[in-house]
Symmetry: C2
Subunit: 198 residues, 2 copies
C-alpha cells in the first residue's frame, strides 16, 4: 500500500493550500474573510443537517463528499465572488476551463481509482443536473447569504447588491433545490435590504 | 418543517463560531495558526482519502460525520494543544467535563432526533472504542503531525517536543488505528527531529 499512501498524502498535502484561498464573505463576527477550506466544512455540515429538507432522490452523504471537494480547484484559480463583475464572472467560459484544468491536476495526485471518483463527483456538482448536485449547489448558495447576514452585510455592501440582484443571482438557485429553505431565508434577510432601500 | 428549520439554522449559525477557535498548528505556509473549522474539513477529507487503509469494520462515511462535528465543543472550551502542560492537559477530567457540557448545549440547538444522533456520534468519537472512532482518532492525531512538518515545525518548536514525546503522545495513537500510516509518517518526519538532536 506504500505507493498508494504516497499518492494519498501527496493529495492531502496539496489541498492544505485551500486554507489560503479567501472568499468575499466575512466570517460570523466580520473579523476577517472566510477561506474556502472552512467554507467547505460548513457546507458539509449544511448537507448533513438539512438532509430532511432535500428532494426525493438526494443522497446527503454523497452531497457531503461533493461539498468537501467542490472548491479544491480554487487552489489554482482562486474564488470568483458571485457578485463580482455584475454577477457574470462566476459562470464565464474562461473560468470554467481553468477550473477543469485545476481539477484534473489536483485530483490526479491521487491513486487512479480515487482520482476518477473525485473528478466525477466534481463534474457532477458543476453540471448541477442530478438531484444530489442540485441539493449541494443550493446549499453552496445559501450559506454565504446567511453568513453575510450574520456578519452585518459582508459582500452585499462591498458589491452594492440590491434585493433584485440577490433574488436573481442567488435566490433562484437556492430555490431550485430547496424552495422551503429559500422561503425561510428570504423572510429573515429581506428586512436588511428593505431597511437600506435596496 | 418551519420549526425544524428554525432549529437547524440556529445550530448552523452557532457553529460558524468554530472559525474563530485557533489551534497550536500553523497552516501549510506557517503564515497563521490553523483554526478548528478548517482543521475539521481536512480531517473529513483524510477520512475519505485514507478509507482503504482502515481496519475491517470501519465505516468511513460515519467517520466523516464524526470528524465534521468532533471539535464543535471548542466553541465553548477552546482547543487544548496536545503538547501543552507536558502532554497531560488534553485528557484532564476538568476539560472532559467542560467538553461534555458544551456538546450538550450546542447539539441541543438541533431538533431532538438530530441532537441525539450528533451527541451519540461525538460520544462515540471521544470514547475511542469502536473501529470507526479509533480510525477517526488516528486521523485526528496524524494530520497535525504532517501539517507541523509541512509548515517547518510548528507546535513542535513552540512546545520543545522531542521524538520520544511525539512517539508517546501521538505516534502510539496513530498506530492504534492506522499502523501502516504511522510507519509511513514516521520515516518522513524522523529526520526533522534527528537533524535537531531531538
Ligand atoms: Ca466557490
Amino acid at each position: 500500500m506504500t505507493d498508494r499512501l504516497e499518492q494519498q498524502f501527496a493529495f492531502l498535502r496539496e489541498v492544505e493550500k485551500l486554507k489560503s484561498v479567501t472568499r468575499a464573505t466575512p466570517i460570523h463576527d466580520a473579523s476577517r474573510p472566510e477561506n474556502s477550506a472552512e467554507h467547505s466544512w460548513t457546507l458539509a455540515l449544511y448537507a448533513l443537517v438539512l438532509a430532511d429538507q432535500a428532494a426525493p432522490g438526494v443522497d446527503a452523504l454523497r452531497a457531503v463528499k461533493m461539498l468537501l471537494i467542490h472548491d479544491i480547484v480554487e487552489i489554482d484559480v482562486g474564488d470568483v465572488p458571485i457578485h463580482s463583475a455584475g454577477g457574470t464572472a462566476h459562470s464565464s467560459a474562461d473560468i470554467q476551463a481553468a477550473e477543469l484544468t485545476a481539477a484534473t491536476r489536483i485530483f490526479s495526485l491521487l491513486p487512479k481509482d480515487m482520482a476518477d471518483e473525485f473528478q466525477a463527483l466534481w463534474e457532477e456538482f458543476e453540471a448541477a443536473e442530478t438531484p444530489t448536485a442540485i441539493y449541494a449547489k443550493s446549499l453552496d448558495r445559501a450559506q454565504p447569504v446567511l453568513l453575510n447576514h450574520q456578519s452585518g452585510g459582508g459582500s452585499w455592501i462591498d458589491y452594492d447588491v440590491t434585493w433584485d440582484q440577490l433574488e436573481t443571482r442567488v435566490g433562484s438557485k437556492i430555490a431550485r433545490g430547496l424552495p422551503g429553505v429559500w422561503d425561510w431565508v428570504k423572510t429573515r434577510i429581506r428586512p436588511w435590504f428593505a431597511d437600506r432601500g435596496l
